[in-house]
Amino acid sequence: MIDRMKRGVLWLALLPVFLAIAGLLWTPATSWSAENNAPAGQPGAAPPPIKHPVADPAGCLQCHGPAGPKPLPASHNGRGVETCTMCHKPATDAGQAASGALEATPSQEGEKTAEGSAPKESSQTSTGGENASSNCLTCHGQVGATVKLESGEELSIYVDASALSQSVHGGTLGCTDCHKDKTGYPHNKLEATTVRAYASAGSAICSSCHQSEREAYSQSVHGQMSAAGRTDAASCADCHTAHAVKKGVEISYEFSICAKCHQNVTDSYKSSVHGTLALSGNKDAATCVDCHTTTGTAHGLQSGSDPDAASAPENVAQTCGACHPKALETYSTSFHGKAMRLGVTHSAATCVDCHGAYGVQRVHGPEAPLDDAKVASACAKCHEGADENFAKGWMGHEEASPNWFPAVFFTERFLFFLTTAVVAFGVVHVELDLLRWFTTGRKKKNNKGVKDDNKDS
């Protein structure tokens, strides 16, 4: 016994030591990954330069592939090996490699090529791009420059160089990194015949690096429409813009981007509780993306008619509940919520049936008392003939309490105690009966107990 206690105390004493050793072993690993991954993940930070000689750029993935000793960060998944050197410059001087490609001068490039053991091919590509950047701007730097397409539409070919250098691609990508076919002049003839066709085709350029986004996009309603040949479907540049490219997190709350095509709904959105908040500069206010994706990024935007969509009747409550958890809780225990959960998806009321979808409004709240007439009109959408008296039975998203629907509260209370008391009485009755039977009941039977029982009285 004492031995056991001693052993227990010993283990307890050793536990912090074990934990300390584990901590020491763990720390280098985390600091290593932070050192290697964090800069790549941070927006706008320059990609780390290649610190070693590169014999063959096609061989990057031998070491940096998923199975290699220094695998790529997860954000790079899907990018082809030919794109490595677009961002990661093979340079001895880290500072130079990180400096903007547009600003890079030919002399610097020359140094680089001379000093570094970078392969010819890669340095040629990048030099070509940078030279082109300054060359390109002689034409494309003209404000208002356009070309006429076959359809007769005019396609703007003006590029704001400062917008490009301040964009997320600024300092890493030059003109010909994206416009690969425009290395010479005159350029090859444009395949696109309309402005929209040109914009739509541009997505292919982005997806040579942003493959995972491309995949997500192809599942989205925009991507599916685009794949079906609809050139009016939003493509990469419609949201991110072509040259002043912004990261998704910076633009996802900008409903004005969606409004470019979806004017009809953004108008009512602007007057909604969400819209007024968003317009006042509150970035927590729900915008288009918050309700139209389940993935949280605009690349997975779904059509409302898609049964898996965040805005489909089955999922509306969950979608709204992400920000309104209390409403979700009371909804899911309500008659409507139960019906929805149990599959009455075509007729059970969801959030939007009472509050509206784009023009979502607060039906009532602390500052606005419940307007029975307003509620009744919402009820009457499904409950034909519902009047204000019917609407008075709507508890809103509040639990019953002595102040709020006391009749419901005390009914629940009363029945809870009644049920507990009655069932407890029954259980005790049965148990005691069995107990008595087990202890004396069987004996009695042997003695013809029935008769004795009567004689007692």
């Binding site: 008659f335 008296n389 039975g393 029945l415 009644l418 009755h429 005691l432 029935v450 009567n454 009285s457």
Partner: protein, 347 residues
Amino acid sequence: MTTKIVNPKTQDAEREIDEQAGTQKGATLAILWPFLAAVGLMFKRAVSSAFAYSSEARLDDGTEVLPERTLSEASWNELATAEGPDISRFDLHQRIQHILMFTSFIVLAATGLPQKFHTFGPSQWFITSLGGIEMVQTIHHVAAFVMLFDCLYHGVYLVHGILRKKDINPLRMIPSPKDFLDAAQMFLYFLGISDRQPKFDRYSYLEKFDYWAVFWGIAIIGGSGLVMLFPVQITKVLPGQLVPVALAAHSDEAVLAVGWIFIVHLFYAHLAPRVFPFNTSIFTGKVPRERYREEHPLDYRRILIKERRQQVREQGGPRLTLPVGGGAPDILPNPDSAGEESTQEPR
């Protein structure tokens, strides 16, 4: 009788008022007291006349029999252990009513509980395997109307039985003070404090509870169910708050009903050692004489008297006259004197 009580009390009260110089409370009491006393007395008389089985034990010639007081236990036991056919406890209507009741109850519970506990995995499986929630709700509504029909049936049966057939057995279902004493005695017996079990009349306190639980349960569950089924129409007449109240009450009360039926009722009907494994009484209407004597000794005495009376009427026999307050009476039939007595039988 009542006036005799009222007058002195009123005078007392008047005196009191004089003393207290018109206190409101005193005045109210003074006015109410005689009424309360009268009502109390009337209630006591009503109860004692309705529940004293002595009234049933009045013989055809009008002789009143008070078995409990007049018969020695020895004679009762001798009489009671006599062989005989099974006791008829439930008539055909009652049996049909019970079948309708338990089938609809089981269907309602099976289709209702998964709706209350809808997040529970097996509930969802059950609902989808029945063909979706709308199918489940339809089944629930159909079963509910079967149960409501059963209630109407029972109501008509009661009224007809009591008023037309003059059957007062249903009235014995009304709770009486004896039930509380019986329950207390039962618990004393369970706990080993007493060795005497309570003697039940036609319905034991548990059976009465079963019946009245169904009665109030159907009032609450059926009423709230109708409110939920026709919320718009109901709120044209009744307050709107009734709808959430009905929603809360419906399933909470249903849980109580299911708990009671499946724990207590099922135990005492089928699982108790006395009847295990299956009690056929509610289907056949018959209870073995031996068991009925054990379970409902007081009603059994009444049945014996009835049977005796029937026997006398049919075959003739000694009249069951009992000297009230006398010594050990002889109530056992005397077949030898049957012929003589039959001529003198009234009616």
